[in-house]
């Protein structure tokens, strides 16, 4: 695979909160057409990186470039049509219905006069169908389960129809079937040309779906590349401090991680492949 150019890249950026610098001179190329997954321990700066890439958090040093232009020079709606972000947590306004919330994703495509075009309607309907929430569309968001609500937020991000979609832990709150459904949905989106960047905590899913895996620790990128090259027992131990066994996923052959855990002795077979 020849490395495609990166429309979105960060060039030695620093970013943080108040006085704490979280990212210090980090560079990353988000390869066009990739399904990039970022993994790393809690508080290592994954969300901060996504926020810096989408200008939510202005970089104090370095540049984030979209199509070669500093992201700070774009108008907000211009960026929002290219870059979508599903934040790790969001607030639903009181008493809003599902369809109403999903329709909020159309904001960057709308204006003072153009408030509800046929394209808006089609995009909202398609986003709800893709996340299987069409049946819920008239329900109030505050009366949904955590997993249903998460799918509504994903639908809102889909309705935005950005060409690069950044997802911060999109599968939290979901049962395993819905996690897989959603990951396959992102894979479909990826196949139809959307570049995807997702923060995930499940290393097995990360290895399965990523075309490009980025491992972070303490605000730095420790390793990146194809999952098979990145996910090794040594790396998992280095990044997460977790002794483990890496074995080929019986379904896909991609790396899968079995933690050893402190109290247990590894079984003889597992010990053999370690």
């Amino acid at each position: 695979m020849t490395p495609s150019p990166a429309r979105l890249r960060a060039d030695a950026i620093s970013a943080g909160y108040d006085n704490a610098t979280i990212l210090d001179g980090l560079s990353i190329d988000v390869l066009d057409g990739s399904f990039t997954v970022i993994v790393g321990p809690n508080a290592c700066g994954k969300s901060t990186l996504l926020r810096a890439l989408t200008r939510l958090l202005p970089a104090t040093d370095g540049h984030v470039l979209l199509d070669g232009r500093a992201i700070a020079s774009y108008r907000p709606k211009e960026i929002a049509r290219e870059l979508g972000l599903l934040p790790q947590s969001s607030i639903a306004p009181d008493a809003i219905t599902v369809a109403d919330l999903v329709a909020r994703g159309r904001y960057p495509h709308q204006g003072v006069l153009r408030r509800w075009s046929p394209e808006d309607e089609a995009a909202v309907a398609a986003a709800m169908a893709a996340t299987e929430i069409t049946d819920l569309s008239g329900r109030r968001v505050d009366a949904l389960s955590g997993g249903q609500r998460q799918r509504v937020w994903v639908a809102m991000a889909l309705a935005q129809q950005a060409s690069i979609l950044l997802l911060d832990e999109p599968t939290t709150f979901l049962d395993i079937a819905h996690q897989i459904d959603l990951m396959e949905l992102f894979t479909d989106l990826h196949r139809t040309g959307t570049t995807i960047v997702a923060v995930l905590h499940d290393l097995n899913q990360a290895s399965r779906y990523a075309t490009h895996l980025v491992a972070m620790k303490d605000g730095h990128i420790v390793a990146q590349g194809e999952p098979a090259a990145v996910v090794t027992a040594d790396l998992v131990e280095e990044v997460f401090g977790l002794p483990c066994v890496v074995y080929p996923d019986p379904v896909t052959g991609t790396p899968a991680v079995a933690p050893i855990g402190r109290a247990r002795v590894p079984s003889p077979t597992a010990g053999a492949t370690r």
Partner: protein
């Protein structure tokens, strides 16, 4: 492909223009407009020369050059127009602040903007001996200065609703103390004028005061037609609205300035009229039943509240009272009802 929004919507599309309107909000706004027109006609018909509604309408549209025409157009219309316009401004101002802060308590009278306007006006009356225009300027400046102070004190990487309210209540209390101090220092006649203005009254309002106020209100409302979209988008929280293309801090500042200007200009012309901006948005929300507060509905409820309150204050009581007294009573009842309801719900 049509989307089910859980409530009836009307979709309008014509040329480059398209909109989706919540049907119940639309119906509520139409009903409120009709009620407001009726209330205004009643207000115009009452007085030393009682008129029938038909006579009022004839007089309004200029078909009556006699005494009744003069009474309605020259004497009563400024006051009723002020009630409608100021009520509209207060309702919208409250709706903007309550939406921005996601808190039903965050109305301009609660976060200290009315107190700031009042104190600003008092400074002019007591220390500079003031005139109407100077007093109005003083209270406009006082309101804006208070809002800026609240904003700066509450600012920490953006402004969050709760901090804004706490800081606003604190600052408002300090400004009220300042106002009391100014009144104590003032000569008796000055203090009496100031107290009358401080009660909130439409009596001194005529066309010369109304026109500049109307211009400011119109400008703010036109701006808010554009800003209402980012306003409702901001309900999603800073991160999500940022990601969806809202210029978060810029929109919030512009919205804050509009809300403050609307309240300050009313205070400047008529003194602090309490509770309209607190109650109108919440009443509107219950009437429209959708998510969020419709600015149009809140404005119309505010206009209706103030028009009815002023009619009651002038005609239904043994002695004419300043309208501010009536709105305080109505608002007080509303607050008690709200608290009782909340208490029942949580019990």
């Amino acid at each position: 492909m049509s989307v089910d929004f859980g409530a009836a919507h009307v979709v309008v599309r014509r040329g480059g223009l398209s909109a989706r309107l919540h049907l119940r909000t639309l119906v509520a706004c139409l009903a409120l407009t009709a009620a407001l027109a009726a209330a205004a006609i009643v207000a115009l018909s009452l007085g030393d020369l009682p008129l029938s509604p038909a006579e009022v309408v004839t007089a309004l549209f200029g078909a009556d050059d006699g005494f009744a025409g003069t009474v309605v157009r020259e004497w009563r219309l400024p006051r009723t127009t002020a009630a409608v316009l100021f009520g509209l401004a207060l309702g919208v101002s409250g709706a903007v602040l309550q939406t921005l802060t996601a808190n039903p308590l965050a109305s301009p009278d609660v976060v200290g903007i009315s107190s700031g306007s009042y104190a600003g006006g008092l400074v002019v009356i007591v220390l500079l001996g003031g005139g109407f225009t100077a007093t109005a300027m003083g209270s406009l400046i006082g309101g804006l200065a208070t809002a800026i102070a609240v904003y700066l004190l509450a600012y920490r990487r953006g402004v969050q609703g709760f901090r804004l309210i706490i800081v606003g209540i604190g600052l408002g209390a300090m400004l009220s103390a300042l106002s009391t101090y100014l009144l104590l220092r003032a000569r008796v006649e000055v203090a009496m004028t100031a107290t009358a203005w401080g009660a909130g009254s439409l009596t001194p309002v005529g066309w010369p005061q109304l026109l500049p106020a109307a211009a400011v209100i119109a400008a703010a409302l036109i701006l808010l037609v554009v800003l209402s979209r980012p306003l409702h988008q901001l309900e999603l929280g800073d991160d999500a609205s940022h990601a969806l293309g809202v210029a978060v801090e810029r929109s919030r500042l512009a919205l804050l300035v509009c809300a403050v200007a609307l309240t300050a200009v009313v205070t400047a012309a008529a003194g602090p009229i309490a509770f309209v901006s607190l109650a109108a948005p919440q009443i509107a929300r219950r009437l429209t039943g959708g998510a969020g507060i419709s600015l149009a509905a809140a404005g119309l409820v505010g206009a209706l509240l103030l028009t009815v309150s002023d009619t009651v204050a002038q005609h239904a009581l043994p002695v004419p009272f300043p309208v501010g007294v009536v709105t305080v009573v109505i608002g007080g009842c509303y607050l008690v009802w709200l608290l009782v309801r909340e208490a029942r719900r949580t019990a």
